[in-house]
Symmetry: C2
Subunit: 415 residues, 2 copies
Amino acid sequence: MTLRRSWLPSANTPDTDFPLNNLPCGVFSDDLPPRCGIAIGDMILDVAALEAEGILTLADHPVFDVPFWNDCMELGPAAWADLRAQITAMLAEGSTKQFVVEDHLVPMASATLHMPFLVSEYTDFYAGRHHAFNVGSMFRDPANALPPNWLHIPIGYNGRASSVVVSGTDVRRPWGQLKPQGSDAPIFAPSARFDFELELGAVVGTGSDGPITVAQADAMIFGYVLLNDWSARDIQAWEYQPLGPFQAKATATTISPWIVMRAALEPFRTPTPPREVPLLPYLREPGPMLYDIAVSVALTPESGAESTISRTNYAEMYYSAPQQLTHHASSGCPMAVGDLLGSGTISGPERANRGSLLELSWGGKEPLEITGGTRTFLQDGDTITLRGHATGAGYRIGFGDCTGRVTPALKDWPQ
Amino acid sequence: MTLRRSWLPSANTPDTDFPLNNLPCGVFSDDLPPRCGIAIGDMILDVAALEAEGILTLADHPVFDVPFWNDCMELGPAAWADLRAQITAMLAEGSTKQFVVEDHLVPMASATLHMPFLVSEYTDFYAGRHHAFNVGSMFRDPANALPPNWLHIPIGYNGRASSVVVSGTDVRRPWGQLKPQGSDAPIFAPSARFDFELELGAVVGTGSDGPITVAQADAMIFGYVLLNDWSARDIQAWEYQPLGPFQAKATATTISPWIVMRAALEPFRTPTPPREVPLLPYLREPGPMLYDIAVSVALTPESGAESTISRTNYAEMYYSAPQQLTHHASSGCPMAVGDLLGSGTISGPERANRGSLLELSWGGKEPLEITGGTRTFLQDGDTITLRGHATGAGYRIGFGDCTGRVTPALKDWPQ
């Protein structure tokens, strides 16, 4: 796939996240309240205004004059394709609509970005093999790092939708129950091992209420976001047995401001790795369901310089989002428009490819070098920035930066 | 507390779940669409109609003409108390409003009951000590049945709000990954160990976005429901390590059609049991936070007779719902109106007090006698009915039956 040229010059530069091939979905505000927009180059196309003026029509009722993409998602995959076709025609080089559309471009630099959709429910998976192996080695037993079910089930747990925030939102270091090493009893204190996790999130755009095949699940996915699953490792270690992570993962989960639609990622499909043991038939993929998306993590200390601390690829996952969605629905669990599925931490085989500080510093034992210092876990004032790009011929598909800054814990706890 | 007498005779009988002291909140339909109602004796008071006619006023906008109680909950505790005061005055013996109110009573027998509120998110706890001990003995090690954190943390996991259904909804036996004993690999098949769990659910009526004390958490709870956390034990055993139960608990969770408001339960407050180890200060209770509510489970085979298979009391819990809510919010997790917190299975000390078939049949090894047969786990056609009552002088506070019937699994799985 090559670059689709737009009459908007900033959409044709090789380093923009948002060429005409991308058209990701976000929610923005300027002088007017939050509404739906599509990123193009360094601008946001105000699709709510286009719809109000009758230039863009997707349904017999407005779907873009709201601060979330759920109403558009509800229209289903045919409408999503129609949206891309209409917007592509408007923004393409030579479009006859340039002069009416131009009035509805808002500079991204002057806009505020909001949560792009209402999260119905949030589920986080554990589908990165290197990550599962690393964590299993540290939390449990290096000889049996991978749990016995791991090669058969896309292991996941339900997270907390209310804690999902958009890129740019500060994240306060949590308090929690911790059990200091060598102590007999837990204490209640701010987390000393606060961490990030590099993930992609799949946004479910079509609901279900019964069994779904992997192919059906793929068609239900509206798009993907970058996702940082902030994790308090000391809270996690003490709480997670026997019912899994709970408060360790409930402080915040940050997503990128832009949902990259599945259609924009089509040229970058890539298969899951060879299966070590055969999957049960309900989980088998009819074709490639991962994407070749290079992802990275940068850490910027307060008033310090940015260091890129991890580079890996979404193609490292052992299970794809459609497989996870199929498994999620397998018990009869109804899935809904706006459900968010975290991929699990994306770690690669080498130290430089690890998607969390837990892994990068090996549980705090091997401090990581960054510009002007070292890190085991996050310090107050640290900003974490996730980035992701699929690269075509002369263009790339990006999500925009997914950032969050750690602010100090509350000083006191109310009694 | 003694019976408050109503001019409605059926509200004054000692065996009704719904005397004037109760006034629980539900959603019903008859010839008109679903709307809010309050149970009284064998009738439902149509509060949406009372509001429309100006007989009942709680806010400057209508809150009862919708098929959920969330809008009323949003008004906050002062409005909840106001609602009870207005309805109590209308329905009390000697009320001057009897003749206008009578027109808005709908016979419960002719109404359909719906989900009483929109579930924002659903969390299930594990706060019954006997249950945790029994399950720990079976799933893990009898010598270390109680996990080390159990006496310090109200252990919980996030469940799936989309799977919560109202009493009377059929529950289809799920398919899932199971690992038959002695087998090397899992299979994908209908669950053979499908079970119920006897619980109470707390309905959060006020949101939060920061730390909350146990007293504040108590004030945030709108009311309580009966809750059956259907559980596929074979799926659970294979999937739950290391991230907790997932599909085993996602088929359905059934709640009673009536939310009993906290105010109705005030006379029945009772303390949590003595602490074996002191709780951390953030979890300490300022007063009694459990309730003396006798709960029971009945099993009715298809075309068979009902057998009561368990009787216990909500006062058996080690942690109260306010403690669970305080812990839930402790990491900074925002809590919302409509959040549902399952208590955890309520089991008492003896076999006859166990709140699940897993415990009653000790993992299937000790079949339970029922009228006309035995049970290890649920069979197709079995109906489970949960009941709960707090008993005052000459009256009782009930939730209405919380029932669900197991229907056969899907015959085939789509490929």
